[in-house]
Amino acid sequence: MDIQRKVKFEEELDKNFLDEIKDMSGCEEIDKCIQCGACSSSCPMAVYMDHPPRKIISFIKNGFKEEALKSFTIWLCASCYTCQVRCPAKIKITDVMYALKRKAIEEKVYPNRLQPPVLAQEMCKLIAKNGRNSELWLVVNMYIKLKNPLGMLKMAPLGINLMKTGRMSLKKEKIKNRKQLRTLLNEVKENAK
């Protein structure tokens, strides 16, 4: 059996990571974390996560960039804000999770074939193009991107139930002034650089 070192040496850590994250919206106060664990104990997703929220905050504070960005945890955060209202240090943990999601997408390091990052990006594409979301098309686009026709097929019974009750349509929802929206989003993207 190949035994590997489990502990990182200091020089392997990313010393800029904390500052990088602190620059992002909602993450300014992150070094006030006292590692109490209130976030982990209140998180409904913690039992599914590879690292609980407290550890993610610790990763950021100590430069474990790879561990934080490649974790499943950030994609299992459902934005329920339970941790955030309980944190005694008033850290906006949900916003920190969002920031890590954005970084992971930007650096393309999220776990391969995991649905949540694909869903988020496909939804944004639909909204930027049409100004509105269309539930059916979002699901279709996600499964195409995931190259998972079987996953799509499994949704068919649900689709039929929704069709029967008039809760799903094939129509693509669009706003009228798409031109204005496109100009706005382009401007924002340009100027945010």
């Binding site: 919206s25 409904p44 997703m45 599914y48 299992l76 459902a78 934005s79 329920c80 804000y81 339970t82 955030q84 209202v85 906006k92 949900t94 916003d95 969002y98 999601k101 954005r102 997408i105 649905q115 949540p116 990052p117 869903l119 988020a120 990006q121 939804m123 944004c124 909204i127 930027a128 100004g131 509105r132 979301n133 269309s134 539930e135 699901v139 996600m142 649900l158 139930n161 929704l162 009750t165 008039g166 809760r167 799903m168 349509s169 929802e173 706003i175 009228k176 002034n177 204005q180 929206l181 100009t183 706005l184 989003l185 401007e187 924002v188 993207k189 100027n191 945010a192």
Partner: protein
């Protein structure tokens, strides 16, 4: 009373038509004139915060600007839209450099936003502006004996806690009691339904919704009432899957609070979107027709 404009969001025009179908007649019945926001766009939901948070703010900024030009505040019945717009509104009006840039871009594209708009959920407006007593006076058919579990989920009560308690809110319970129903002590009322994760990672969705359904059943609820399209959808869709997995019947009707309000206010049940329920409402109707007796 403030002037409001109605922001439906994508869900109320799609999978949650019955929320709109029940909300609009209820508003009319309690004397609230309201118009739909002209050419509104999607709020960006949780997705845009995970991809590009300045765009997320700009999307909401465009909607807020439309409301401001109409001289109105925003009524957002979807708890997801409510939170997204409230969060972006806070960001845009707090004066950071990042926000300034977005406000300038909004202005140059014809969507100037000065920051005067409030974003509110209909439950807040009912309780704080119209008042429980006024609504109670309009009740025609008391929902006597109907046991309801009021499920608030996350985004109406967190992270903004200025309207109700983040763990054990009671406003919807009070509203349902005013309609004559009995609100059970539903201790799972603010646990998470999984949001969009329930649609992508079914295992997690099943686990979370099991807790919600089991607690409602344990407390003897005839129906679960919700105020968020994603909560309603997740609970209703997961009920069959949870029942199968845990070998017990958890197919409790999951409705919008406005549907039950409408019934109590004397709006014909055909006009409240009940036909869109996937779970059978038979037992619930029996209970309502018999004034609570089974």
């Amino acid at each position: 009373m403030n002037e409001y404009i109605y922001y439906p969001g994508c869900s109320l025009k799609g999978g949650s038509k019955h929320y709109e179908e029940s909300l609009l007649p209820v508003l009319k019945k309690i004397g609230m004139e309201i118009e739909e926001m002209n050419d509104w766009n999607c709020c960006g939901a949780t997705a845009y915060f995970a991809v590009d948070d300045t765009i997320a703010a700009a999307l909401c900024g465009r909607n807020l600007s439309i409301a401001e030009k109409a001289g109105c505040h925003v009524m957002a019945p979807c708890a997801g839209c409510f939170l997204t717009m409230k969060k972006s509104n806070t960001f845009l009006t707090e004066g950071s450099n990042k926000a300034q840039k977005v406000l300038t871009d909004l202005k140059t594209t014809g969507c100037e936003y000065k920051g005067t708009v409030k974003v509110r959920h209909p439950l807040e407006i009912f309780i704080q502006e119209i008042g429980l007593d006024t609504i109670k006076e309009k009740v025609e058919n008391k929902l006597t004996g109907l046991k309801v579990a009021c499920y608030y989920g996350c985004q109406l009560v967190r992270p903004y806690t200025d309207f109700d308690d983040p763990d054990y809110p009671e406003t919807m319970d009070n509203l349902m009691e005013a309609m004559g129903a009995e609100a059970v002590d539903y201790s799972a009322k603010t646990l998470c339904c999984g949001g969009s994760l329930t649609g992508t990672i079914e295992n997690i969705g099943k686990g979370l919704n099991y807790v919600l359904l089991k607690e409602a059943k344990k407390k003897g609820a005839d129906v679960i009432v919700t105020l968020c399209p994603l909560c309603q959808f997740n609970l209703e869709i997961m009920a069959a899957k949870v029942s199968k997995e845990y070998k017990e019947d958890y197919k409790i009707p999951v409705l919008y609070f406005t549907q039950l309000m409408g019934l109590a206010l004397g709006i014909p049940k055909e006009d409240l979107g009940f036909k869109r329920s996937i779970i059978s409402l038979k037992n619930m109707w029996q209970k309502i027709n018999n004034g609570g007796a089974k």
